[in-house]
């Protein structure tokens, strides 16, 4: 991956999360403590502030640096969780960047997120978007299919009952709301797809 693409990806992901901060906060106020949007905004502003330095690094190091910025700056559980995802991706980044290699790296990063959050899919968390995406990626899905999967997977958290995270305090009352972490994971996938599709057209 060239450095221009890397920078575009980091900027697109950060700007998308920042632009949707209010929506994420509204989702989190329904079933969490209402800080997801604010926390993610603070974290991705820190990522954005360092983007020139970060995007000059090899992708594996850039991902680790972005992950570390999230860990240090977010201020809530989503910092270590998204930080672990990006640092895990950086750690497992394939020597040859193809779809199978990316699927392996993504799977390894998701395993690290599961361990960090002591969670599994089905508990109304970001994993309910990430895990289906990894499966689709491994099946050779294209960007359009990945977009559809992300959106559908985030929607599928609406009827779920939360088992992990603050929303689990609500039990049955968490049913009927989209999980904010699932939504932010879906947003990130769509932002990545925006950049890559534009490149294919260009």
């Amino acid at each position: 991956m060239d450095q221009t693409t890397l920078k575009q990806l980091i900027v697109a992901v950060a700007e998308s999360v920042i632009a949707h901060a209010e929506e994420l906060t509204t989702l989190d106020q329904a079933i969490g403590d209402g800080d997801h949007g604010l926390n993610m905004k603070r974290g991705f502003e820190a990522v954005l502030a360092e983007v020139d330095k970060t995007s000059a690094l090899p992708p594996s190091d850039a991902l680790k640096a972005a992950g570390m910025a999230l860990v240090m700056k977010v201020g809530g559980a989503s910092g270590p969780l998204y930080g672990t995802l990006f640092m895990g991706l950086g750690k497992a980044w394939p020597a040859t960047v193809d779809q199978a290699g990316l699927a392996d790296a993504f799977t390894a990063a998701i395993d690290a997120v599961k361990a960090r959050g002591k969670s599994e899919p089905g508990m109304k968390t970001m994993l309910d978007v990430l895990v289906p995406l990894a499966a689709e990626l491994r099946n050779g899905a294209d960007l359009a299919q990945l977009r559809a999967t992300a959106t559908a997977a985030a929607d599928a958290t609406v009827p779920m009952k939360a088992i992990r995270g603050r929303a689990s305090f609500l039990g049955e009352r968490s049913v009927g709301h989209m999980d904010p972490g699932a939504r932010s994971s879906s947003l990130i996938l769509h932002a990545i797809a925006d950049v890559l599709e534009e490149q294919h057209v260009a």
């Binding site: 240090m72 977010v74 201020g75 809530g76 559980a77 910092g79 270590p80 960090r116």
Partner: protein
């Protein structure tokens, strides 16, 4: 390996804890287990620390932190690492946390500690205020880290 930057600003959040843990610096306190209190709210963290200090005096290394990086409710990995350092004891450090993010960020902070310290820091699965008081009392008696943790966690059954 990450090290907190020397010019890291505590703002109004951490100074109380720093002052509190340094106030007793004249006497050797590093034989008792240290206590760290982590809350989303600096007011809660400081209040809990005040209660522990009143119970155990200066016999226990004690530090607190609260608030997100840059302010507002939340917790900061950097501030937690610094609090562990302030409350450091060769006998180890027991951390009390309030809600989910405080626990996750504390776990992250522990992982980022130097190798020789990482295995001597535990998070107590206990209510933050009561747990801190129980852990502090147990620590002031010179108990081991595991014993301090068990005492704090006995509150769960109550």
């Amino acid at each position: 390996m990450y090290t907190p930057s020397p010019n890291f600003s505590w703002g109004k959040v951490g100074m109380g804890a720093r002052g509190a843990s340094r106030a007793a610096g004249a006497c050797p306190m590093n034989t008792n287990v240290g206590i760290v209190i982590v809350s989303h709210s600096p007011d809660v963290a400081k209040g809990a620390a005040d209660m522990v200090r009143q119970m155990v005096g200066d016999d226990v290394p004690l530090a607190w932190c609260g608030g997100a990086p840059g302010g507002g409710l939340g917790t900061s990995v950097e501030a937690i690492m610094a609090a562990i350092d302030r409350a450091w004891s060769e006998a180890g450090v027991a951390i009390l946390v309030d809600l989910g993010g405080a626990e996750t960020n504390s776990e992250m902070a522990i992982e980022m500690l130097p190798d020789e310290r990482r295995d001597r820091v535990v998070i107590c699965n206990a209510p933050v205020v009561e747990g801190a008081v129980m852990a502090g009392t147990e620590a002031s008696a010179g108990s081991s880290l595991e014993h301090v943790r068990r005492t704090a966690e006995e509150l769960r059954a109550a």
